[in-house]
């Protein structure tokens, strides 16, 4: 039913090595076979152990495991030490140390070379930055001078325009009152200007009409 072969081979890993000539040995149920009818509704009674006994057992187990683990670790370390203390190991260590020294020396030389190259590079960089800074300073100075000249020009222009000083203020007020400026004007389709709000066209003779200048 479970497909056992006729040659009665032991159902283990290295199946090709041995053949038993005795009766067929039942090692385990084949993996895909269903549970037996007498066993499907079986509930195995779980062993009930009181809590304090469980605690005690756990304590004992823990102590035992700790001791065994530490002993094993200690023996492992001892065996490592023994391996290291042998002659071959000593010589290997010596050779390794020598090799290490040589490599450290090499590394140091490389470092020195890099340092020298770096010094050169930094020097060139410093010179460059100095030159750049100087050039920009000079440029800034020139620009400032230009700016100053411009300001001077502007100021003189402003000063030359007629300002009303505190001394002239009364005279200026009298003048303004005496000569009111009328901004009203009208334009003709022919391009003639008629200034003033209440001027009528008929009062002005033809020749005296202003022509609008197109500036």
């Amino acid at each position: 039913m479970f497909g056992s072969s006729g040659s009665r081979v032991l159902n283990v890993i290295n199946i090709s090595y041995l053949q038993s000539r005795s009766k067929r040995v039942w090692v385990r149920k084949p993996l895909g076979s269903p549970m037996a009818k007498s066993k499907i509704f079986r509930i195995t009674p779980k062993p009930v152990i009181p809590e304090d006994e469980k605690a005690e057992i756990k304590r004992l187990f823990d102590n035992y495991k700790n001791s065994m683990k530490s002993i094993r670790q200690y023996f492992f370390e001892q065996s490592l030490k023994q391996a290291e203390s042998g002659e071959v190991a000593q010589m290997k260590h010596r050779l390794e140390d020598q090799e290490h020294e040589r490599l450290m020396e090499e590394n140091r030389l490389e470092n020195e070379k890099t340092a020298m190259v770096r010094e050169e590079r930094l020097k060139i960089q410093a010179e460059n930055t100095q030159r750049n800074v100087l050039a920009s300073l000079i440029k800034k100075e020139g620009e400032a001078k230009q700016h100053e000249i411009q300001i001077e020009d502007f100021l003189t222009k402003q000063m030359s325009t007629p300002f009303i000083q505190p001394e002239n203020i009364e005279k200026a007020i009298e003048d303004a009152l005496a000569n009111p400026v009328n901004f009203n004007f009208a334009l003709d389709l022919d391009g003639y200007v008629y200034r003033g709000k209440d001027t009528s066209i008929d009062t002005i003779p033809e020749e005296k009409r202003e022509r609008l200048n197109s500036n």
Binding site: L10, V12, N14, L18, M104, T114, A115
Partner: protein
């Protein structure tokens, strides 16, 4: 299957991580690299960290590898050994390949050592990572005692037991 996320995700593949020779020597405990995120002379160091640091950590899971950024004007690598010694490697303005070669030459195990320690190659090693799991698999040797029990005179529990302790 979609692309892997991130820049250069090949760095996260097992093949890439495995295929390098950056196995540090046993005496190296900490490997630290100082570099800046900006600056031409740090470019090599930055590339080394980007491409090769994962490989280094993969091959040396028990070594502490740290990076320090934007602390010093020039980049360097510092390895702290078991006996307190410090190995300083100035990598100012070096390219990534130069740094890789230098690290390999100075503080990594040489090809010879790696080959000698390689379990898979040597048929004299048995175990989980070797060619054969046990010497009983070799034809001509004793068959596995789980199949064919050893004679009692060869078994320690019978050789050393004292009759009164039975």
């Amino acid at each position: 299957m979609p692309f892997m996320k991130g820049p250069a995700p090949i760095r996260r593949t097992i093949e890439y991580l495995d295929r390098n020779k950056l196995v540090l020597k046993d005496r190296v405990k900490i490997f630290s690299i100082n570099y800046n995120t900006k600056g031409d002379n740090h470019e090599g160091a930055r590339q080394f960290v980007f491409w090769h640091l994962p490989q280094l950590q993969f091959k040396n899971p028990n070594v502490q590898i740290t990076t320090f950024k934007n602390l010093t004007p020039s980049p360097f690598i510092q390895c702290y050994l078991e006996n307190g010694e410090e190995v300083l490697m100035d990598v100012d303005f070096k390219s990534k390949d130069e740094i890789y070669e230098r690290v390999r030459r100075i503080i990594c195990k040489s090809e010879k050592t790696l080959k000698a320690e390689d379990k898979l190659d040597n048929p004299a090693n048995f175990g989980s990572k070797c060619q054969k799991h046990c010497i009983c698999e070799v034809p001509g040797q004793l068959p596995c005692p789980s199949l064919v029990p050893l004679p009692k005179s060869w078994r320690g529990k019978y050789k050393f037991q004292k009759p009164d302790e039975l």
